[in-house]
Symmetry: C2
Subunit: 403 residues, 2 copies
Amino acid sequence: MYGHQSAALLPASVPQFFTRARGALLWDADGAEYIDYLCAYGPSLLGYAFGPVEEAAARQQASGDAMTGPSPVMVELAEALVSMVSHADWAMFCKNGSDATSMAVMVARAATGRSKILCAENTYHGAAAWSTPRLAGTLPEDRAHIVYYRHHDPDSLRGALQRHAGDVAGVMATSFRHETFRDQEPAPAEFAWAARRLCDEYGALLILDDVRAGFRLARDSSWEVLGVRPDLSAWGKCIANGHAISALLGSDTARAGAASIFVTGSFWFAATAMAAGLETLRHIRETDYLEQIALRGARLRQGLDEIAARRGFCLAQTGPPQMPQILFENDPDFRIGYGFTDACIRRGLYLHPFHNMFLSAAHDDGIIDRSLEAADAAMADLATRCTDLEPHPGALARLGLGR
Amino acid sequence: MYGHQSAALLPASVPQFFTRARGALLWDADGAEYIDYLCAYGPSLLGYAFGPVEEAAARQQASGDAMTGPSPVMVELAEALVSMVSHADWAMFCKNGSDATSMAVMVARAATGRSKILCAENTYHGAAAWSTPRLAGTLPEDRAHIVYYRHHDPDSLRGALQRHAGDVAGVMATSFRHETFRDQEPAPAEFAWAARRLCDEYGALLILDDVRAGFRLARDSSWEVLGVRPDLSAWGKCIANGHAISALLGSDTARAGAASIFVTGSFWFAATAMAAGLETLRHIRETDYLEQIALRGARLRQGLDEIAARRGFCLAQTGPPQMPQILFENDPDFRIGYGFTDACIRRGLYLHPFHNMFLSAAHDDGIIDRSLEAADAAMADLATRCTDLEPHPGALARLGLGR
């Protein structure tokens, strides 16, 4: 297995193949049931197999999906997104997050006639050659015009803009800092304001990568609460509750650039995922899914902290409660975290040892109760095995701690 | 509208939005019915909404689609493809053709430690920055290591390999030459043999782009009939009869390279399109869909030639009968072709004035009969308007004939 769903870097108990998903639950190929805190790494927002979205998708599928042209549902979906996302004046659809971020790079270059794209160091913007985290198969030219600034550091960003003044097409930012193997970090308002101001000052487009966090933090672009509107925003993951679609949204400043590039894909205009998206957006607008997910995330966080204290562990729980990162303090090679995750998975609780997780609206109080019970048992077990834990060889290699 | 489904370059009568598709038929947003010779630009191989594939997809969708890991159906699909495609020892899945061709480029570079990819001039390998036909938004660095050779010209290919000896990672080739606005051209066996021999001589991987033609020319890689096996082949379009999935297949020579790169996408491992693909492959193996499509394509071609002769036109019909290109002789600015297409579309026959078309297994004799009737009426009409035809401004611009 390749890519982000490979179990090679995970504890030995983690299953590689799954046959069924419903609500907050997942069943592996051997029939074992899990409470799933990955939500397909984001796509399940309202819960797996969410009835109203599945019905809308099935209706559209019976009528037409991939056709010789798009369906009118494409226009409805674009209008829905533009009405919900304050900065957006137009929408273009594609399939995966990498399509949307790569398209943002092309639009920024076309709109400005400039080359450089500024990215925060070590930030994942998808697995295209210009951004994939592993360099195998890529060339220096793929990132010749990618310039890195220090995360959430206005001075570093300003320095990069100054060094390349007149040639910066766009500044990429993420909703919040969500790297693997480390604590998550909300975007400081001061950084977001500075990014907007600096982009205006240097004539660069501000691009917000909302692929991972979009609609899990807000019913708008994730920086809207900070009062900052990007020129372009990349969306994906959950905008159609699991159906394959992503989007690039833009403001009028980027419209001519967007209209000038040639991007396409055989399945980019397929109607079924768009109908699913339209129904997903309706639930986003009309229900309290967002507040519920945040509440349940907070309950989980508090419960885990209490269990850890009782069992003699100290957790580092970061990230928004809807997208928790659960690490252990004093665990430099992550052996405690791997041990905990392993013990949880053996008890039907699918947690991740180094990647941010995701809650869905199907993670109700009953699911949280069951999760805390399993976590308590796992931590009790972990406490008895603490001195026997070994670090994971893959994790050591990733951390540069290979022995 | 952006991309290949934009109606901006097409005759005024061409509808932009469609609501329904069934078999060989398509309905636009105003309710008008068309016999569709684009098949969604390839994806519909067995006909739109083909029952057995839709049933398999719906069964999988009810069970699980995008989950936290892949379904076992991914293994079954990989095994099915590897058993059908002679050169293939492994398979990786993605969503669109561009994903598969871009992944091929990365694998070739990783496998060889070299940089250069040789492509035939003007060939479409997808809309990623290294290959999109319009340069807006791209940088010279995106194609710094793409080297162009003359189509089907072994001497040109040899020259390019010699000039970059020791640094050629891969040679891209297409099933057949299928550029827009020109006659199509089958791959000469001599060229295919030379490409294989030269790749071996210079240590480059031979990459066959079968995205457009795969499984419409053969039940194997398209060059298998020529006795030539590539090291990598890119697939997409119809391998799941319209469900969104593409694939890179490779031989063992490229296995380590493929395993070394990091590529992924939120929806690349989604199970529904894989279940649809498995059922599509079963029909490819077990039915005479291929012979039927070729027969119907030949009937259409012969019928159109007879009509044209009777109406005083001379057609240039090229490409395999399953993927016809229908142009007019002595039509340098394509005004006759546009006029014909326009007249056909007004009669419910959706033809394309400059892009290769696609037949599906649903294009039965009744559909061919109706198509020929409509084409006859369109050509009769065209004969009366021949002196009034104007060239399409978009086509003129594309052809560099702007006035």
